[in-house]
């Protein structure tokens, strides 16, 4: 099987999925849609992991959570995702000490339709690779990284890329000779 991953310059697929946003009874679930995201005018950072209740994942997810405010400061909506169901997500959040205070939604791509459209499904087990997407407010993929199942990510690198994508050097000091006038 050949993986063709949705990459830079492509439109991020539309989706509407259940996400776990809390461990409080009755407030666990939220219908998260690409439409609501688009209307918010914000950037999106979506990171995927293979399976809930496994070892590398909580470390990595806790690290993303530690930087949740940094993403918010950059007008980016942070979303975690895997192909587990919302009930598995909720159970994992309740079960694992590091995950109880999560500040971002955990998307349940139970049908695997989004992971499939993104081209990030591992062929054997049909679980998602550790893909990370940065999507701009227009819904266009601006960065993607794809790590194999056992490799953890650097959240600082994601923030660095986001900064680089967002930094509009509008100051005339940055104009180079011969460049067209900047328009803001």
């Amino acid at each position: 099987m050949k993986n063709v991953i949705l990459s830079v310059g492509s439109e991020f697929p539309e989706f509407k999925k259940t996400a776990v946003v809390s461990i409080e009874k009755g407030k666990e679930f939220y219908e998260l849609s690409s439409e609501e995201l688009k209307n918010s005018g914000k950037w999106m950072v979506m990171f995927w992991w293979p399976k809930d209740f496994t070892f590398v994942c909580p470390t990595e997810i806790a690290e993303f959570n530690k930087h949740a405010q940094d993403f918010a400061d950059r007008d980016a909506v942070l979303i975690g995702a895997s192909t587990d169901s919302e009930f598995v997500h909720a159970a994992w959040r309740r079960d694992h000490e590091d995950l109880r205070g999560l500040q971002f939604p955990m998307l349940a791509d139970t049908s695997k339709s989004l992971a499939e459209e993104l081209g990030i499904l591992e062929s054997n087990e049909k679980v998602a690779y550790r893909a990370t997407y940065i999507v701009d407010p227009q819904g266009i993929v601006r960065w993607v990284s794809l790590y194999d199942l056992s490799v953890g990510r650097s959240v600082k690198e994601v923030l660095r890329v986001l900064d680089a994508l967002q930094t509009d050097e509008l100051c005339p000091c940055n104009w180079q000779k011969g460049e067209a006038t900047l328009t803001a």
């Binding site: 609501e36 918010s40 405010q69 400061d73 950059r74 007008d75 909506v77 939604p105």
Partner: protein, 195 residues
């Protein structure tokens, strides 16, 4: 569900420079009240500048200390002193940052005058300012030069900036490190004007 507010940003901004106990200044409060976009930019700038990859934490805090002294901000001076000490800076190193900042305040004015006027008498007569601390700094010559360069950039002496830049490059310093040291100085100054 994606709405965010600005109210905590100011407090987090103060936390990054160790001023969590300080009340939010009137100027910062004005930005908070107006939900000004700039407040987040400022916080990101300060966090990124302090976390620059080419500067160790101790070096970043010592540069911060120098800027606070240069800008006469006592609370910030105390907090950067604390932060640097926690990263292993010694009393002697802290004292040397203070000394270096003070000396550069003399030199930046004096040499600026000399290159402004550019008359032979002024530029050839010996300077007549004691600079013995430059000879064998406990911070190491490279960092001492880097610090001198950063303060000179803050205080705007062209001759000091060009000569300390040359000196620091001769020590084998990467241009990226030079840039990040000066960026930290510049960004902290942009914070101090709002404190």
């Amino acid at each position: 569900m994606f709405a965010t507010t600005n109210q905590d940003t100011a407090i987090q901004l103060l936390e990054t420079v160790g001023l969590a106990e300080l009340p939010v200044s009137e100027k910062l409060q004005a930005l908070v009240s107006a939900d000004a976009r700039y407040l987040k930019d400022l916080k990101i700038n300060v966090t990124n500048a302090l976390g620059a990859a080419t500067l160790s934490k101790k070096e970043a805090y010592l540069i911060g200390l120098s800027v606070a002294v240069n800008e006469k901000h006592e609370a910030l001076q105390a907090s950067f002193g604390r932060l640097a000490t926690a990263e292993g800076a010694t009393e002697k190193e802290i004292a040397e940052v203070l000394s270096c900042t003070s000396l550069m305040n003399a030199n930046n004015i004096y040499y600026r005058f000399r290159h402004f006027v550019n008359k032979e008498f002024y530029t050839t007569t010996s300077a007549g300012i004691r600079m013995s601390i430059m000879a064998n700094p406990v911070l190491g010559k490279e960092f001492f030069e880097l610090l001198s360069l950063m303060i000179s950039a803050l205080n705007g002496c062209e001759m000091c900036v060009t000569s300390h830049e040359e000196a620091v490059v001769k020590h084998g310093t990467e241009p990226q490190r030079v840039l990040e040291a000066v960026r930290l100085g510049a960004v902290l100054k942009s914070l101090i004007v709002l404190l």
